[in-house]
């Protein structure tokens, strides 16, 4: 119940954030989708012991959050919701990898701890990248970019259709669950005797709705074809954005900036 409600609120928050008109929001969807995908591939391509090299990549989410006027607390909340499972898997690394690889002062750091920190950093970077893409682009533009990328039309239409009805169905589910809980003596879930009838009723209602939607589409001239707008304007800002970030990511991949900076400051050269 709570989960349903909070997820619905999250969806609406992201939709509202995507409606802003900042510099980042005005860029075309392809630019942001390509950049995000390149970013994710570069982040994951770092080997498990390369930790410091990942740090400069935080410039990308920080820049997008700043320029896109996005609330950082919201992104942190999502991050905290996803993180636990991955962190637990990552925490096994220190248990299995005891080889000392580096030292901080007198403290020996094992390979396991180093790769654990690497996993945590990668987690933060990849999750924020995906959320930033949606919060600055919106689902309609992402679907346009997907079809530009060559995704089959049925899947793009399916995503658009589904997303449109998620809000409607979530509302209906909430009402039904509220009614169920007010008539039952437990408040932690659906009793097994109601599994079939509750979800089954909702399913039948959903199917009936699909039928009505189909009829409404026919009334509006639907003939089995749905057009997807693929109009995409490439401005100078788009080209610059798409040039600058991948070059920056690659630079971070080849050059360990923090290491060089640290050596410079601690007189290591």
């Amino acid at each position: 119940m709570l989960k349903l409600e909070s997820n619905w609120l999250d969806l609406r928050t992201l939709d509202e954030l995507a409606l802003q008109k900042t510099f980042i929001h005005k860029l075309n969807a392809c630019t942001k989708l390509y950049t995000t995908l390149i970013f994710v591939v570069i982040v994951t391509s770092f080997s498990k012991y390369e930790v410091t090299g990942l740090i400069p990549l935080f410039f990308y989410p920080v820049a997008l959050i700043s320029l896109g006027n996005l609330p950082i607390h919201y992104l942190c909340k999502r991050l905290l919701m996803i993180a636990p499972f991955i962190i637990v898997i990552g925490l096994f690394n220190p248990l299995f990898d005891h080889v000392p690889v580096t030292a901080v002062g007198s403290l020996m750091v094992t390979g396991g701890w180093l790769s654990f920190v690497g996993i945590t950093l990668k987690l933060m970077l990849t999750i924020t990248a995906a959320l930033l893409l949606v919060a600055t682009t919106g689902i309609n533009s992402i679907c346009t970019a997907l079809s530009k990328l060559g995704a089959p039309k049925p899947i793009v239409i399916q995503i658009l259709f589904m997303y449109r009805y998620i809000h409607v169905l979530l509302e209906e589910f909430l009402t039904t669950l509220q009614a169920y809980h007010q008539r039952s003596f437990q408040n932690n879930g659906v009793h097994y005797k109601a599994w079939g009838s509750l979800l089954g009723q909702l399913l039948l209602r959903t199917m009936a709705r699909a039928q009505r939607i189909y009829q409404a589409m026919l009334c509006r001239g639907y003939d089995g074809h749905i057009g997807i707008s693929t109009a995409m304007v490439w401005t100078t800002q788009d080209k610059l954005f798409l040039f600058f970030w991948p070059v920056f990511f690659l630079f971070c991949r080849f050059v360990n900036i923090p290491q060089a900076l640290g050596k410079l400051l601690t007189g290591g050269f």
Partner: protein, 348 residues
């Protein structure tokens, strides 16, 4: 069961992306051939239905805990395998974008584990032969539970293999499999029961809904034994091909499988490998940060070419580490400072 990008390597992520892209194209073609215009809104709305249904807690009797529905088998029963596969792919895409539930690079793996397996394996080869076109309550129950259990077992095993081949997690294969398989046995059982409850309800209330898909051309006319043999060969081939591919890639992908078991069956030591090893030496743009003091026993069979150890970072050298740490902190502060500056600039 959603895999995150933090635990997957680009090689595995990319391979699974390619496989899934092919499957999506195939399913899309099949759905388009189906010429059932009604299916377009039905798929969309049912996708939203499963998306929302996954958020409902179902109390598990006698345990005090609650379970969720994944919906893969349920969708296949309602829509048939192709449309169901596309619908699950769309659900997972929206989850990965809007809730960061499963990474973008791991999306291919997730669609394979949670879409392909229930729709193209569990449904046609388990549920359909068991229920045929005249299901009874008992057959629906047996078919749903078996399909959900087998589907989730295979899916969980897929997660174990993909994580293992990515080499980011140090979890030994046996430990990870022992963590994943039993818990997914329970999850699969509950999922099967919920699916059976819903399908039985629909079967009594509106049987025509189920008849439509039940009468479509069956995929699974092949005997179960043949399917298992094919799956086994496929698994062996994939394992062999992926491990060979990964051992020749310039990522410095470490092989936990070798470190854990010391097995050397996946050896690839022919001319082709030699060629790739040389090629890799040419294109490996970064020194191989290989600062594990490997014992000979733990040496992978197909080791990557030794790099110049003098350039490896960080050797166990406190000075270098401090430099790295200081540099990282300065970089982070710089990032925040520049971020603040950009925020001010954007408001003007």
């Amino acid at each position: 069961m959603h895999m995150a990008d933090a635990l997957i390597s680009p090689v595995i992520g990319g391979t699974m992306w390619a496989a899934t892209a092919g499957l999506v194209s195939y399913a899309a073609k099949k759905v388009q051939q189906d010429i059932d215009e009604q299916k377009v809104p039905l798929m969309g709305v049912l996708g939203a239905f499963v998306f929302a249904a996954q958020m409902i807690n179902f109390t598990i009797p006698g345990t005090g805990s609650s379970g969720h529905i994944g919906g893969g088998v349920l969708l296949a029963i309602l829509l048939g395998p192709h449309a169901a596969f596309l619908t699950i792919a769309s659900i997972l895409t929206v989850q990965s974008l809007f809730f960061a539930d499963g990474g973008l690079l791991a999306l291919g793996s997730n669609i394979f584990n949670m879409g392909f397996i229930p729709c193209y394996l569990a449904y046609p080869f388990i549920y359909k032969p068991l229920t045929k076109s005249n299901p009874s309550q008992r057959k629906i129950m047996l078919g749903s539970v078996l399909a959900a259990v087998v589907g989730l077992q295979l899916g969980a095993f897929g997660v174990v293999l993909e994580t293992l081949f990515s080499g980011i997690s140090e979890l030994p294969f046996s430990t990870f499999a022992l963590l994943m398989q039993p818990i997914h046995l329970a999850i699969g059982f509950v999922e099967g029961l919920i699916t059976a409850a819903v399908v039985t309800f629909v079967y009594h209330a509106a049987p025509e809904i189920l008849q439509k898909t039940a009468l479509t051309q069956p995929l699974g006319s092949t005997p179960m034994k043949n399917v298992l043999v094919v799956l086994f060969i496929l698994a062996l081939f994939t394992g062999g091909a992926l491990s060979w591919f990964a051992s020749t890639n310039p990522d410095g992908l470490e092989w936990s499988i070798f470190e854990v078991s010391g097995e050397e069956e996946l050896q690839a030591s022919d001319e082709v490998h030699e060629f790739f090893a040389q090629l890799q030496e040419k294109i490996a743009f970064l020194p191989d940060y290989n600062f594990k003091q490997e014992t000979p026993a733990a040496q992978p069979a197909a080791t990557e070419p030794a790099s110049d150890k003098s350039t490896a970072w960080p050797a166990v050298d406190a000075g270098t580490s401090v430099a790295g740490l200081v540099g990282s902190l300065i970089t982070l502060l710089l990032a925040l400072f520049i971020g603040k500056g950009l925020q001010v600039a954007a408001r003007r």
